[in-house]
């Protein structure tokens, strides 16, 4: 598997570290426990295109948002993660 880093070009998987699903958003500090539980534990875990966070640790050291098909490992799209 290679990830097309928008800054470094297509690079081997071993250069990257995986964080997981890009969908969960940290709830506001005033949120109740249910929102925090949802954010920490629950995942859609789709079989198909999955937006996920990868860190290019051995490259540009930037966080990327990669869209990848979990059934085939085909990387569909990679962009810099929004701050």
């Amino acid at each position: 598997m290679r990830i097309p880093c928008p800054f470094c070009g297509p690079r081997d998987l071993s250069e990257f570290a995986y964080l997981g699903d890009a969908a969960p958003v940290r709830p506001a500090e005033t949120s109740d426990a249910t929102a925090v539980f949802d954010y920490v534990y629950l995942r859609a875990n789709p079989a198909g295109p999955h937006r996920e966070r990868w860190y290019h640790a051995s490259g540009c050291r930037l966080w990327l948002t990669v869209t990848r098909d979990t059934r085939t490992h085909e990387v569909l799209f990679a962009e810099e993660a929004a701050p």
Binding site: S14, Y18, G20, T34, R43, A44, N45, A47, T70
Partner: protein
């Protein structure tokens, strides 16, 4: 047909022409008392214990492919019960005890081989942690032995004891652990369940779960609607997909775990050995191949195949433990889809939907748990209350904070 010395001798003389199929490949009926989704180890064991222990025989196991085509055929066949936490030990020990009597119970040769599971330690801190784990096991009535370096040397002289980075200091040994012939587990349970009247329906994928007013009514399948008052999921890596048909979002991610087998060798490794300075486990199959594996690949996957960075990592660990493996040729590798729960421990519980049950989150440990999981799950489905060995394996523990963090890592690959 029962297996006995007599029947085997008779068939040997008759050219083995008298054997009949081991189970009925059933057509689905329109309605059942209970339907189990997933014809893997856990699903088939659940059906067997529902029929045997609870007299529930009007049930079906629905398998989308052929039985045993999933993780029960894609593992490293290790069985053990050397766990630390009180929420986990009872279930795995129940499972271990069932493994010990499985072949007599099923009248089926599952090649249960209690050749011992040895966890190696490489630091003082790790030895202390092993002593603690061994004590926890003994408090639960599970035997455990803490071995010093000399004892490990006597047992496995071929290991790299003076490795510069990871010298071997000793190990924790569970003699009752070992390996089991994985396919025979699926076939044996299928045969036992089928003999008692359970319908095993292959090539029947569930496409929907019908629910009315919070109560389950049955499942939509590729072979039509099947009504059932109780629907039980046992689908490992596909858990999130099937549960989403009932509108559930679960604390589970699907990850690929690879395993490998080498060319056949003469007897070399006495039991199962795990490398403590990484995540690597190795044993020798009865055919002679070394069977080994390591970590999950580390990213969500449904692909049943992994990538080369883990192959490299596993090879490095093999070399760190047994330098002689450098001369080995690899025969095959495969990948299975693990249902990684967020605390690394399984779930056997009801769901918020009446009549819908969940058995999932087995992470690396699904194979060894098959008999115990099946028995506890059958108990839950039949009686509506958890089996005494599985009371902690609740779905709501993530919400209430009663996590069973055996290793505190769950699905997060960077913590492995």
């Amino acid at each position: 047909m029962r297996f006995s010395f007599l029947s085997i001798a008779r068939e040997a003389l008759r050219g083995n022409r008298g054997w009949t199929p081991h189970w009925r490949d059933a057509e689905p009926k329109a309605a059942y008392d209970a339907v189990i989704i997933g014809g893997g180890g856990h699903g088939l064991a659940t059906a067997y214990y529902l029929a045997k222990n609870h007299g529930l025989t009007n049930i079906a196991v629905l398998e989308k492919s052929w039985i045993g085509s999933g993780n029960v055929g894609r593992n490293t066949t290790i069985v053990r019960s050397n766990y630390l936490l009180p929420g986990n030990i009872p279930l795995y020990e129940l499972s271990m005890k069932l493994w010990e009597g499985l072949e007599r119970d099923l009248n089926y040769n599952a090649m249960v081989s209690q050749r011992g599971v040895l966890n190696l330690c490489h630091t003082d801190a790790q030895r202390d942690a092993f002593a603690r784990r061994g004590n926890a096991m003994r408090l639960h009535g599970v035997e455990a032995e803490l071995l010093d370096r000399k004892a490990v040397q006597r047992m496995c002289p071929f290991l790299d004891f003076d490795n510069a980075r990871f010298p071997i200091q000793g190990g924790l040994l569970q003699r009752r652990g070992g390996t089991v012939r994985h396919d025979a587990v699926a076939w044996g349970y299928a045969r036992g369940a089928s003999d008692r009247g359970v319908d095993i329906v292959q090539n029947c994928a569930v496409t929907g779960i019908r629910i009315a007013n919070g109560v389950v009514e049955g499942v939509e399948t590729t072979r039509g609607f099947i009504a059932a008052k109780k629907v039980a999921m046992a689908v490992a890596g596909s858990t999130s997909q099937v549960a989403s048909m009932a509108g559930l979002r679960l604390p589970i991610e699907s990850h690929v775990l690879q395993a490998f087998v080498s060319e056949g060798l003469k007897p070399l490794i006495p039991g199962v050995i795990t490398f403590g300075a990484g995540h690597f486990y190795i044993s020798q199959s009865d055919k002679g191949g070394l069977v080994f594996g390591g970590d999950i690949d580390g990213y969500n996957s449904y692909a049943q195949r992994g990538n080369l960075h883990v192959v490299e990592d596993v090879a490095e660990e093999a070399m760190g433990l047994m330098p002689m493996t450098g001369r080995l040729r690899m025969l095959r590798s495969w990948g299975g889809i693990m249902d990684m729960s967020m605390d690394g421990s399984p779930i056997i519980d009801r769901t918020p939907i009446d009549g819908l049950f969940l058995n999932a989150g087995w992470c690396y440990g699904g194979f060894k748990a098959i008999p115990g999981s099946g028995l506890a799950y059958a108990h839950l489905i039949a009686k509506g209350e958890p089996h005494p060995a599985a009371t902690a394996l609740r779905l709501d523990r993530f919400r209430t904070g009663h996590l069973i963090d055996e290793k505190g890592q769950g699905a997060q690959a960077n913590l492995h």
